[in-house]
Symmetry: C2
DNA sequence: CTGTTAGCGCATTCAG
DNA sequence: CTGAATGCGCTAACAG
């Protein structure tokens, strides 16, 4: 391994000088800089992170914590995509990204502790949010830089988070259904415990109310989309005396299950029933009918979270803030016009 | 930050002793061990990785590089799943895992160089394999520990790789179709450049030949599944005078596209056409019809690769080897019996 | 069984 | 503008 000393020797300067040209210190003459750089290149010098980290007490690395992957939810294409978003900025800023690799909640917590106490990373991105989460509490207590993608359950204005305006998105997409003539619209969402679901549902409900449409409990379904993609949800809905003609579904992946269930039951989408959802993952484009869905800009969600976190690691006093990533509806083929009765 | 010195002082021993109890060195009396451990707990001591890494010249970290994510392929649930597999062993062995975060090929290469030269990681897992890949060549030249998930294009018995027996898998799943009475079976695969595709196709072909069935070129289709999920593939196939009754598709995600295309064109699966594929990602279970597919044990693929790599980082002279992860067919509802004509 | 010493590679005072 | 000295926190001989 070629060290700073080697290039110092080769150049006939002191190690500290080499260190300074690495940092591009302005007090070094342009000439020696060139000379040193040349030697670095020739010798194949590359700085050693561990040494650097030790000296400066910082790592230029961020940790990313995925939800407990006991959860099948991890198979959601949302995750690779957000990782890409994060990666795009870590790459640009020459940070590295460490993934937490626990599977149970317990393990994850242990991992995070290691990351924090062991100085593995300068900050952490939480890709989930739960009520009373040990990890978040821990980070908070330790005053360790972290951001949340989504909406925190507690201390909402003390923790910087990156989210969409899911309420508005829910409202808009529901309005789209209303505008195309639908009057009986149901909502199918994942766990009520999740803010995403709640926000989107609230938006749906607001739209329904404002339009003066029927707002009944029977039309709001919550199901673990892990289990058979909400098959039951569909069955429940179809067994109603007055069936909905439009469905707002809180996640593309879930739509896939619902769609399949619908067609299996002999309903054609969008002919018999229209359907819209959220996320705009790749899937929604390749299935038939392709999905009208709100693109929540997953990549940007990731990128913004990384940016915000890095700022925070650089200046710990950076105030907590909320970053709202814009969304936009992508119109495709899962919705059809419905004439008034 | 509480260091080894602090606990040394608090315990009245030398720093080196503390270091030894951390390493659980057997030459330390059980008594002082207890004493030291107690102090560590009380003071909230946690070892600093950077310092440790610097001293031992190793990082207990592995790098994972994903395929260039210009590729939509990353949205394949295959990736989160394999990451989980890797994570399960890195966690157990107390390693950490760093994701490469480049998006273009160029960027990825730069990242890998940083990882290697900067001593960010002890070894690297490549989650893709391409002909004449700079990254692989680089790792190879530098004699840096790495493993490949899949099959390397070059130096196949010099690089340890973890793969399924895709040939056999292809053969078996095709045989399943044959056994259920299908006589005209087509293959739809991704890029011919990929070994996975090639191997699976070769298996398909072997099965077809052995069964004495028609083996024509028209029945072998290659398409970028990125684009509209192989819609054209389907159209081509359907426009044939003698249409196939069974389809072997090289990836579940692609099946999704094909399935949609088929139903859109008015064909019902499995009634009119049967279909089988590979991977057994979550999707294949939630769509209707659920997919008969070969489970390639993605998680295990990841876990084995991590294990093999870690072994290699510990003992660089570990010989290159090939690890074959078993597969198994999961029978679901995308295949129906076909009576002889 | 334990303490002392000397680095690991780099950044950063402080001099000059 | 540059060099010498010191220390980041930990491990690893070497003594004893």
């Amino acid at each position: 391994m070629v060290t700073i000393k080697d290039v110092a020797k080769a150049t006939g300067v002191a190690p500290s000088t080499v260190s300074r040209v690495i940092a591009n210190n302005p007090r070094i003459s342009i000439m020696t800089k060139e000379k040193v750089r040349k030697a670095m290149k020739e010798l194949g010098y590359h700085p050693n992170v561990s040494a650097r980290n030790l000296a400066v007490k910082s790592t230029k690395a961020i940790g990313v914590v995925l939800p407990s992957s006991a959860d099948k939810a991890l198979q959601n294409p949302f995750f690779p995509e957000i990782l890409r978003g994060i990666g795009s900025v870590t790459h640009d800023m020459e940070y590295s990204m460490t993934l937490s690799s626990g599977i149970t909640e317990e393990e994850i917590f242990a991992e995070v502790q290691r990351m924090v106490y062991g100085s593995y990373v300068d900050g952490i991105i939480l890709l989930y949010s739960r009520l009373n989460d040990r990890v978040m509490n821990f980070l908070h207590d330790k005053n360790f830089p972290y951001v949340i993608v989504g909406k925190p359950y507690e201390d909402i204005d003390e923790v910087t988070h990156i989210d969409n305006d899911n309420f508005t998105a829910g409202k808009e997409i529901t309005n789209h259904l209303i505008e195309t003539g639908h009057e009986r619209i149901a909502f199918i969402g994942g766990s009520k415990e999740l803010f995403v679901t709640m926000d989107r549902e609230a938006g749906y409900q607001a739209a329904v109310k404002e339009a003066g449409l029927k707002d009944c409990e029977e039309y709001k379904i919550h199901t673990e989309f892990l289990k058979s993609g909400g098959r039951e949800a569909v069955e429940n809905l179809l067994s109603l005396k007055v069936r909905p003609t439009g469905l707002v579904i809180s996640d593309d992946l879930m739509s896939l299950g619902v769609l399949s269930g619908l067609e299996e039951a002999g309903f054609s989408v969008p002919h018999d029933i229209s359907l819209v959802s959220f996320n705009n993952v790749y899937l929604s484009e390749i299935i038939r009918p392709s999905l009208t869905t709100v693109d929540i800009h997953i990549h940007e969600l990731g990128a913004e979270s990384a940016k915000a976190l890095i700022e925070k690691t650089i200046d710990k006093s950076e105030p907590a803030k909320r970053i709202t990533v814009p969304h936009e509806i992508v119109f495709r083929n899962s919705v059809s016009k419905r004439e008034a009765f």
